[in-house]
Amino acid sequence: MTQTSRVTGLGLVDRSKPLDFTFDGVPYTGYKGDTLASALLANGVRLVGRSFKYHRPRGILTAGSEEPNALVELRTGARREPNTRATVAELYSGLEAKSQNRFPSLSLDLLSINGLLSPVFSAGFYYKTFMWPASFWEKVYEPMIRRAAGLGRAANEADPDIYDKANAFCDVLVIGSGPAGLMAALSAARAGARLILTDESFAFGGRLLSDVTTIDGMSGVEWVKSSISELSSLPNVRLLPRTTIFGAYDSGTFGAVERVADHVAVPSAGEPRQRLWHIVAKQTVVAQGSTERPIIFGNNDRPGVMLASAVRSYINRFGVAPGQTAVVFSNNDDAASTIDDLVRAGVTVAALVDTRASVPEAIKLRARKQGIRVFEGAAVADALGGQRVSGARIVAAYGTSHTVGCDLIAVSGGFNPNLQVTTHLGGRPQWHENLAAFVPGALPKWMTVAGAANGVFSLASCLGDGAKAGHAAAVAAGFDANATAVPHAEDEPINVSAFWHVEAAKHKAFVDQQNDVTAADVRLAEREGYRSVEHLKRYTTLGMATDQGKTSNVNGLALMAELTKKSIPATGTTSARPPYSPVSIGAFAGEHRGKHFKPTRLTPSHNWAKERGAVFIEAGMWLRAQYFPKPGETDWQTVVNREVTTVRSGVGVCDVSTLGKIEIHGTDAGKFLDRVYINMMSTLGVGKARYGMMLREDGIAMDDGTAARFADDRYFITTTTANAIKVLQHLELCRQWYWPELDVQIFPVSDQWAQYSVAGPRARGLLAKIVDAPFDISNSAFPYMAAAELTVLSGIKGRLYRLSFSGELAYEIAVPARHGELLMRKLMSEGEEFGVTPYGTEALGVMRIEKGHVAGPELNGTTTAADLGLGKMASTKKDFVGRVLSQRPGLADPNRPRVIGFKPVDRSARLRGGAHFIAKDAKATAENDLGYMTSVAYSPSLGHWVGLGLLSQAESRVGEILTAVDPVRGETTLVEVVPSAFYDAEGARLRV
């Protein structure tokens, strides 16, 4: 016995395509075109979930993304998705869904005992309790609360699906494809505008799929088909079904998520599960319809209480009768259509309960013709029944009470236009008294609202409103066309009379069903002074659940207005924050996860280094060779020691292409560099290089590097790897904004040059085999700090700099990046006779610490040139960026910590970065903190650890013994303060 509630002859589902699925392990069958909710209802399943706090039985309230109750865990394993709304989950073959937040099972949930404790568990009760003793919060109370928290469970494993991102640009974006949206799309598209039409559902048509309508003599469904067929035939139109516009952002940018493969069990190979769209639209028409409001009455959360519009959706779109005997409870004229549809679906309508004292005659007549009792000026006070509605207690005018048996209560409290997207940019909705609803307030000039979202409710006026909005949007986007004719449709107004909650309710009456916020909670909030609508939300959690208050915010606001005897607009308004409906985190991340979280930059010698067995390390975006183990070398320290020793005794090659490289050209290049470096660069001779230091305008060191001059008007500078982009940006600011009058051009060439350091006493011998004749590489012809343009390897353009970071005789040689790999291979093969070794960033770091050079750990954004021991470099003959502010007392203070060297007193002891310095016999307290260790390395050249650190009164402490304390590692080491140059302090080795 399956699909007992399916109605023959009704609905748009494809009965030729049955789909098997399971819910809580029980197998069922539905059809293509069903949602999980419609398929469950077709199979007679009414109990679908449990509520958050009281674990009350819950069914299906709506047929859309506003659903608060019917949340399930969809799929299993790594694809398990918590809190999926059954009302929007498209049915597919093999779908597996589970109910959530129940123990041990959906029908027997022991935690429903919370409902009995509800007099205690009132809104905000936890703010008043669980305070004693203080330590019990983390140990006892909170674990208890956290065990009960949440609804569904996240997957335990990494999401195996892929996500995609795409950009789209259009003249007109139409959000929503109901009557207003479709007409807007047709108008704009016919005018020639590049159009994007989105709908969150898998089928276009909006309410036209759920209501029985006639447009231009054809059924609404036929009209949708013909309209979509016209739109898809136009080259200027992109249709995006299954796509939710989740947010409006600045300058007409929208975020949208397209559910590409959520309607299949597993995406096909390479297919994304979802795609995040950035849509940039010149004009936008918001036509997202409206959401029906429930009425607050007793037990209004029982399975079987359903929004009237949802009842009609299930009947007309899905061919499902959501009950056998219905009571219709309403405050508006829309009840007439609900009755018609129920009757057509063979559902007995036991009563029409209308809160209005006088129901329009036409509706009464239609009801009575069907033998339906009509209660005017009446209300359903309570739903009866436990896990399913079994009746309605109706309180009629004059207080008489009637019980009517039913298993379905179709409720309508009026309609809230779906304005969420119009409020994302700060728009404030306005209260419309006649419609008893908020309508759009001021909008950005590129946004209009049409149809029910605009407070326009009859079909004819929706079509007209949409046509007008679409045409206007096209015109505003620059298209000149005549307005499109509006098709003919009925124009029955829907009168509504505001009605929010039933005073006579005896049972719990819910305002926010998912978060179990009752009318009593709202009263309590009012009593305790949480009267602003925001306080109400935050105190009671009303509207904070996964349905984002779509069916509860306005009701809560109205209830508070009644309690405080203020008008609704004086009480507050409803503005929404993105997303419009919840969006997978994976979709936002797209492909930026795992190894592809950020791009990986590879150096020109990367492939060669990989072949060579290098161990790589992430250095910012770069992947650099850290060290090059030889076969048999298992310990990284051994490798690094060998690399250092080989450089110091023979020759080594290190890829330093990651340095920032910038050409500075122009007749004022020297003058320009004088203003950005603290030292003089205009005096640099052609064919020479010089070390330089730049400050930020606030007087703090920004970066260091070298400048080489190749012609009077042509310099080449390098920056540190980390600051390559920042320095370029700074130089461009100086050039374009500070001193536009200077004749200077700046060319970033970081990626254009492969650059290798060739270091060690045998470097000259090796390079002599690389540079082309007649270049003279001898010490006299090409001394320390020389720079030259030349050719290498038989005609490859190159540059050679006699620079040394290692402290040895050393060069940096550069060739166009495309020749970088070749050059490295040549250096290795030609270097064999010299015992050449490649060396990585570790050995590079060891040698710079041995030499006492500062690097990233010292250039930490808070140190001045003087702190780094480079104060004397600053020229006093000129101004430079940072000069003035570097003279502030706080920065010029001679007692500031400065860079100095450290050796362990016990030469076998290890030094640690991040250790703090304390006077030898002082206590390890903050008052005695003298500084900290910035960089450490084991020096194979000296045979012990060496360190650099920032130390107060550093120079005067040379020779002093201090304690380096490292409490987080539990270590204490005695260290001796020494000058920072550990190795060849006089610099003899680099000049040979």
Binding site: Y249, T253, Q729, D879
Partner: protein
């Protein structure tokens, strides 16, 4: 937010880096009150609530610095100019001021 770069066309703000208020101008380092002026230049900000001129840099594009006039309350952008042109204009004004 989209910025209409005069050289590259309209691009998303993720292509740009922000520096801040373009109304503060680097003072003359030779001024006798340079210390005060540089302090104000580097630290004091009007922090306008409303239309504000500000410096943006087209990092992922042409590397031009731009002066963007933007309302800080609504993020609406009214005008985008090349900073170099604005700077030249400023210098010209300064030159002609007696």
């Amino acid at each position: 937010m989209r910025i209409n770069c005069p050289f590259c066309g309209e691009r998303g703000n993720d292509e740009f880096s922000y520096l801040g208020d373009a109304s503060v101008v680097r003072p003359d380092p030779a001024s006798p009150s340079a210390a005060d002026e540089f302090y104000a230049f580097a630290y004091e900000r009007r922090n306008v609530a409303g239309p504000m001129q500000e410096l943006w840099y087209h990092t992922a594009g042409c590397h031009a610095w731009l002066v963007v006039t933007r309302d800080t309350r609504t993020h609406e952008i009214f005008e985008v100019k090349a900073a170099q042109d604005v700077a030249f204009g400023r210098q010209k004004t300064a030159d002609t001021t007696p």
